[in-house]
Structure formats: structure tokens, C-alpha cells
Amino acid sequence: MRMVDSSDRSLLLIFGEEISVATHQDVLRLSSLLRYTPGVTNVHPAYASVLIDFDPLAIGRLQLRQAAGELHARAHAAPLDQPRTVEIPVIYGGEHGPDLEDVAAFTGLSPDDVVELHSNTDYLVYFLGFSPGFPYLGGLPESIAVPRLETPRRKVPAGSVAIGGKQTGVYPVASPGGWRIIGSTPLQLFQPDADPPTLLRMGDLVRFVPIARGAL
């Protein structure tokens, strides 16, 4: 593990340059422990790194580096919970997935094949980031990887299920976005009044389940 002072109030822990399940599990173990360290204000886990924001008037940089090192040594052996599997119902295509036809054309598959491939896979939630409750999912079949839109949409509706490059995800809140929308879920992935406020959490497995158009 490498540590970089990314600002006067944050420390970046780097575990490598590759995306792997083993690294993900290291990140998961350590980031949950770090959140309870006094002086730490925010923890941003990612594929192979953890960014720690802290209050520099409450904890010294060297003290935090030492604490992170000790937690890392301790966390490595900690057992992980069995991952939850969360099913996300999706209406594919049509007005709910305006880019499904384009994705099919890009990949040379039929729209039904794209849906079949997309929904027949367990995806790992590597982490939540970008916007509230947005899952970075791993496991998209390479055969349905497609380039992002050349011009991002100004507003992607909440619930949109999309593919961008080798990634797939669900937009929990309406936001700008450049991924291709293949479907939509009626589930709310972000509910600020709920505890926890996000449907998904890091380490979950996600499975998309096709549902009929009238279900929304």
C-alpha cells in the first residue's frame, strides 16, 4: 500500500493499478474501519484506492498515516460477510431504453441477445461513487461493451440502466451522463430519508431481472 498526500486535508491510499476482486476486498475491509477513526470526515473507496478526508486540526497527517498502516495490517486478515445478492428489475428497450437498438447495432447482436447477456450476469458493486448511490459494477460481458455517447445527455433520468465502455450501471438520481441507456428500473437506488440511504452497498452482487413494460 502506497500513501500520497493528495491535499492538506486528505490522504490517498493506493493498492495498485489493476481492478481485481482481491484488491476490492482489501479496499472494502479498510474503508469500513477507517470511517470510525477520530478526525476522519469522509472515506471514498474506489477500485484500488481509498481517499481519506480528515480534519487537519483534529488529527495530524503522520498520526493518520500510522493509523491507516496499522488498520491495513489488521484488516487484511479480517473475514468478510457473505455478499448480498440484490435483484434489480429492469424494463429494457423502447422509451425506457432508447439506446438498446444502437447497442445491438454496435455489437452485431439482436436487442434480445443484448438483454439476455446483460441480465444473465452477476455484477459486483466495486464501490459507490460519482453521485449518490451510483454503483460502479464489474462483470459486464465484453460482447456488449460499447463506446460512450459522443455528446453526453444533459439529463439522464433517475433509474436509467446504461452501458458505457466496459462498465454498466444505474443512475440513482437524474444527472448528466454519457452512457448508453438500455433500460430503466422502477426501484429507487437513493432515498435520502431511508437508513441506509442507498439501496446498494459496496461488495453487493447485482442481478438485473427483465420485467414487462406494463410493470412501471
Binding site: 493528495s6 491535499s7 490517498l12 493499478e17 471514498h44 459507490l128 448511490g133
Partner: protein
């Protein structure tokens, strides 16, 4: 709310602690002015107040109140950085920013809105917090809370928060190219990020995995035009970063307006912390 101004939102010091769920802290763009204004009216530093942007609103007070305006001078006809009593039925009319971008209206007792994830602050992009997650409109009615500290009210004016001519940054590498140029704030800047215009910075080569991004990070996207990630920033990002604005100068970022020139100056982390401590001393001198 007789008139809302250009962009007026309820803000406090934000909602830290949820970055692992993709939720950035948000909060006042110039937190130092918000904290100072609250101290002037004997509120806790983090009480909710109104943040006005470039052109302020007109407010009618249904009950007597004690208020303080801090941050940029919006030509409101009452002294800035000073607690002021307003009578029931009185109007407070803010105009356009004479310099700077944001003015804070702090009311003794605090602005009362439902807390979302522990904070009153409005996150515009995700329509979270504040008053229905949105900017204020004409006809909105805001409640004043009861968070003020006890004691006789007799605090004098204070000096405005000090600002340095350059934004000071730290960097794990060197930020020479960033610091050598004069930048200009683009018109499409907002609370999420300040987009800068200037010479094209060299493209960062090599693959970069998406990683957590801190407040004040100076990101360099492929077009070579830097973006200062600000209070509503995304929690993770995949662009390389040239530097990071120091904590003591984040308030100054909140006062930048479109077409303002921006200079950067690289300092050490130790220097940045000394500046932060000096700033906290200034703030505590108000108590």
C-alpha cells in the same frame, strides 16, 4: 422572500461522512464567511443561513430579527460584517455583488429546514436538502430556528475575511505549469466545479483508475483546461489532478466569479496548515 435573487440557497457546513455512498458534503461555498456571520449573531458556527450568488434577494421579516451579512458586498444598505437589528415588517434588499460572488445572510437562531443526512445544506444537482432541494423562489417562507447561544447581544463589527491574491495549492508533484499561467473562470462554472480557461496543460499519459477526489482538487481533463472541484463535486473521478487548493483558500474559491482571473501558487503542506491555523485564530477572535 419578496424576490429570490439570482441563486439563493439554504446552506450550512454540509454533510460529511457519506462519501462512501457517493454523496459529497456540499455546504456553503464560502464556509468561512458563513461561520463568521453566524458567530456575529451568536449562532453556532455551522447554523444554516442563506447563500446568495452574484445578485441578492429581497427579504421581508415578519418578526424582529438580528442579522449579519458576510462574504461579498451586495450593496444591501446595511453595514457588512456587523450584527444588525431589523424590525418586524422591515425589508432587507440586497443588490448586485460589488466584488466577489457570494453573500451570506445569517439570522440569529438560524434558518430552519428539515435536515437531510444531518445537514440543512442544499445540494442542487441532486435536489437534496435545503428548501425542497432547490433554490429559493419568490413567496417562499422560511422559519427562523432557535439555535442561538444565550447572552446579551452586543457584538461589534469585524473585518472581512482576509484573502490572498493567488489561490495557494499543494501538489504531490510540481504544479509549475498550473502556477505559471493566468487562468480565467469560465461562465459555466457552478457549485460543482470552477472551470478555467487558459493555456492547454500537457495531457497526462497512462491509464488512471477512477479514484476518490477531494474538495478543491484541480482536475485536468483531456482538453487540458483545469477544473477546480467544488462543494457539490462528484465523490470519485478518473481525471488526473495537477494540484489541490489549500483548506485556508477554499473560501476564496467561493468568491470567484465568471471571467475573474485566477493565479495559483504552490506551497508546502506545512505552510498550508500554518495558514489554516491563522485563519482559525482570526475566526475565534470573533467569539
Amino acid at each position: 422572500m419578496i424576490s429570490p435573487g439570482l441563486l439563493t440557497t439554504v446552506q450550512d457546513l454540509g454533510r460529511p461522512g457519506y462519501a462512501h455512498l457517493g454523496i459529497s458534503a456540499s455546504g456553503a461555498a464560502d464556509a468561512l464567511s458563513l461561520r463568521a456571520g453566524n458567530l456575529l449573531v451568536k449562532n453556532p458556527q455551522g447554523a444554516a443561513a442563506l447563500e446568495m450568488t452574484l445578485a441578492g434577494g429581497t427579504f421581508e421579516f415578519e418578526e424582529p430579527a438580528v442579522v449579519a451579512l458576510t462574504g461579498a458586498d451586495f450593496d444591501a444598505g446595511i453595514p457588512m460584517w456587523t450584527p444588525v437589528r431589523v424590525k418586524a415588517g422591515e425589508h432587507l434588499r440586497c443588490g448586485r455583488a460589488r466584488s466577489g460572488a457570494r453573500c451570506y445572510l445569517c439570522v440569529r437562531g438560524g434558518i430552519q429546514v428539515p435536515l437531510v443526512l444531518g445537514s440543512a445544506s442544499t445540494h442542487l444537482l441532486t435536489a437534496l436538502g435545503g428548501l425542497e432541494g432547490r433554490a429559493l423562489r419568490r413567496g417562499d417562507v422560511l422559519e427562523v430556528g432557535a439555535v442561538a447561544m444565550a447572552g446579551i447581544f452586543s457584538r461589534p463589527a469585524c473585518a472581512p475575511a482576509p484573502r490572498a491574491p493567488a489561490l495557494r495549492v499543494t501538489s504531490p508533484d510540481n504544479a509549475n505549469a498550473l502556477c505559471a499561467a493566468v487562468w480565467q473562470v469560465r461562465e459555466d462554472s457552478d457549485r460543482m466545479g470552477l472551470r478555467l480557461r487558459g493555456p492547454v496543460l500537457a495531457r497526462h499519459t497512462g491509464h488512471m483508475l477512477t479514484e476518490g477526489v477531494p474538495l478543491g482538487a484541480v482536475q485536468v481533463p483531456p482538453d487540458g483546461q483545469p477544473i477546480i472541484l467544488f462543494v457539490e463535486h462528484q465523490t470519485t473521478g478518473g481525471y488526473p489532478k495537477a494540484a489541490n487548493v489549500i483548506s485556508a483558500d477554499l473560501h476564496a474559491v467561493g468568491q470567484l466569479r465568471p471571467r475573474d482571473p485566477v493565479h495559483f501558487e504552490q506551497v508546502t503542506i506545512d505552510a498550508a496548515l500554518a495558514l489554516l491555523k491563522a485563519q482559525e485564530d482570526w475566526l475565534h477572535s470573533l467569539v
